[in-house]
Symmetry: C2
Subunit: 410 residues, 2 copies
């Protein structure tokens, strides 16, 4: 018959298995992050190639496509080895697998996208948007992984990583958008709003990344700064966003803008690598801690064992009152520790809430107004820009109005 | 190479496994509920036995002890067959196992408690409190099970069950408390507050039970009412809580009170059984639905398979544009469904929040002021009664003050 003590050990073993599972998820996230980076570079190269006179970048584009292909193969190989038994151990395994299905489905269109870019059969914004969709699918996998982490430290590392990746993706979108605006020679009010939105959401993500990172990561981030590139970006943002009424925007700035942004984005890869190593280290450290706790508990239990033997495990009062108190202490300590972990996890995960609210509002708009995801997002973004409010506030308002909207499906 | 579609299926299979896991948890909860009921009856019998002249209830007490023993054996046998691999698949497996450790540790004191009751070596309130602690441990297991459910329908059924059990436990405590008050012949202000608190928290639990139950359960609940017993309880509550200033409380009322309460509590068992059957039915229905979804998806996928064969699964564009759209529809539909489920789960689980806030505040008080759990609970309860506020509001206030409390440990 199992005693209370054997369930204390079992609880520890559950923790260790959950952490091992998270370490595997960490590997998945790292591979997804590398592939995302490769796709961002491929998108950048395709932007150069699709710009007027961009044919000279054909070889460079080919190189980036090959690099993406290698990263894609790594991600696919990892997906391949995930099995369903494993998935059903993940708290939100169904959601994670569903996100992977979306990624794989999207990737089926990648060869066709590349063919059309190579044939210059797409506009630059079309190509950018197509890559952005694939990257959004990959980011959703990272988000789901962050959402499934049951350990507050690992959750923290995953949230930092997700927000950095998301911020970098907005930086990539800003690069493409700004380059198009400069190349066109003029800035319209709507463009200005969208540009400002890309800057704001980017900064929101990087702020969350900073909030959830430890000093070692912050040092890497600080060292990665390229002050010249940053100054150039700020100067060009100013020109692009607030052009002088008396003169047109100089189309030649497009090239300067693109190069400064590329330097900045490339320098971010060092931070992403540091985040990936940090994630691995955090998992290892937490596993080690849990194993140490398990060893301590085992040792304490061994010291409680009565060598005379023959006493049934479930027999009451088999330990003296002194030992009873140490067992009670152990049981209570574990409950308290798990409670504290669960509380901290709730606090940490609150950072994921904004995105969930936005997703929820999008889903509502899609159901009510028969919109695609892109369209629903655009509706929210436009509302936010017009009302000069944060996306999440507009999303909250949409959800609040849900009950009074006509034709509510659920 | 796995395609997006195979991950769609894998996501469904994760859902099914998770539901099967919940069905097992449902069995555990049902056994725990029966054992809790048996312990409540045993406590009731021990109350009768410990009251003056209660020796004549010795045989009845023995009978209840034997019934508890049988239920305890069932629960222990179920614990026995839980394994760690299984536990690590539960989102909060470590917490559940830790709660079981607390239960098993507490149960080691049960034989001694019974010996002391049999020897009349305990006061009635002492015996009541000792049983209440064991029952609180069992209820914590049910709460953890409710907190781990990833399916909104199952979560709803578990929350209804937990709240009914908790309400019934407060009813049991009120029975013992009122009987003692009547037997003493007088009601002091502090007793009145505690009695009122037992009524209020009881009603809060039953209200949540009503909110989370379907019409079939509500019908059973309605049929279980014993209007005579209820009227008698309300009459005696009025006498006990607002005794006339000119006369003492009649000690003979203790017996009437006890009997009316016992009739009411015994009638609740029918509702608890209905809740247990409902839980089983909900799990079965959800598993069936998920399996049906899986079959539909498989059928659709089979119809998409190209009979020519030999086309690698990951090859892009292998489906025509029409089929591509149905696949995309399937992928999107699944994402939306999982998102909607996750949203609903968040809404449903909000009902668990009050208890979590109270637990958190207790943990804080225990750490700061070196209190036991019982003492911490008493501090909160006293604050709530003195300020005439709900327990959860006082707990919120304690947590808000956490940062400014001295000697904060984390």
């Amino acid at each position: 018959m199992k005693s209370g003590l054997s369930f204390l050990l079992a609880a520890r073993q559950c923790e260790i298995r959950e952490l091992e599972r998270l370490a595997e998820t960490g590997t998945l996230v790292t591979l997804v992050s590398r592939f995302t980076h490769a796709l961002q570079r491929e998108r950048g190269a395709s932007n150069l190639f699709l710009a007027p006179g961009g044919q000279r970048f054909a070889a460079q584009l080919q190189e980036h496509v090959a690099q993406s292909g290698a990263s894609e193969a790594d991600v696919r190989a990892h997906f391949e080895q995930l099995d369903i038994v494993e998935g059903s151990r993940i708290p939100n395994g169904a959601r994670l697998f569903s996100r992977i299905a979306v990624v794989l489905h999207g990737l089926e269109s990648l060869p066709d996208l590349r063919r059309r870019v190579a044939g210059r059969a797409l506009t630059l914004p079309e190509a950018t948007a197509a890559y952005a969709r694939l990257i959004a699918n990959l980011l959703a996998v990272v988000f789901e992984a962050a959402d499934s982490a049951g350990d507050p430290e690992v959750s923290r590392a995953l949230i930092a990583m997700f927000n950095f990746m998301q911020g970098k993706e907005f930086a990539g979108q800003e690069r493409a958008f700004g380059a198009t605006v400069f190349a066109s020679g003029r800035v319209e009010a709507a463009s200005r709003q969208h540009w400002q939105h890309l800057i704001d959401t980017q900064q929101g993500c990087f702020q969350l990344f900073l909030d959830f990172s430890d000093p070692a990561i912050l040092a890497v981030e600080h060292a990665s700064h390229d002050p010249q590139a940053l100054a150039e970006i700020e100067r060009l943002r100013r020109i692009g966003l607030y052009p002088s009424p008396r003169r047109e925007v100089d189309a030649a700035l497009s090239q300067d803008w693109y190069e400064a942004c590329t330097r900045r984005i490339d320098s971010m890869q060092a931070v992403e690598n540091a985040l990936a190593s940090n994630l691995r280290r955090v998992c290892e450290r937490e596993i080690e801690r849990a194993q140490e706790g398990l060893r301590d508990q085992r040792a304490l239990m061994d010291s409680l064992e009565q060598p005379e033997g023959g006493v049934p495990a479930a027999m009451p009062g088999r330990y003296g009152p002194h030992l009873e108190r140490s067992i009670l202490g152990m049981v209570q300590e574990q409950s308290r520790r798990l409670q504290a972990m669960s509380d901290e996890l709730d606090t940490v995960r609150a950072a994921l809430n904004d995105r969930k609210v936005v997703e929820r509002a999008k889903g509502l708009l899609m159901a009510h107004r028969q919109l695609t995801e892109d369209e629903a997002h655009k509706v929210l973004r436009t509302m936010a820009m017009n009302q000069n409010r944060r996306l999440v506030d507009v999303a909250e308002a949409v959800l609040t109005m849900a009950d009074v909207l006509p034709g509510r499906s659920h």
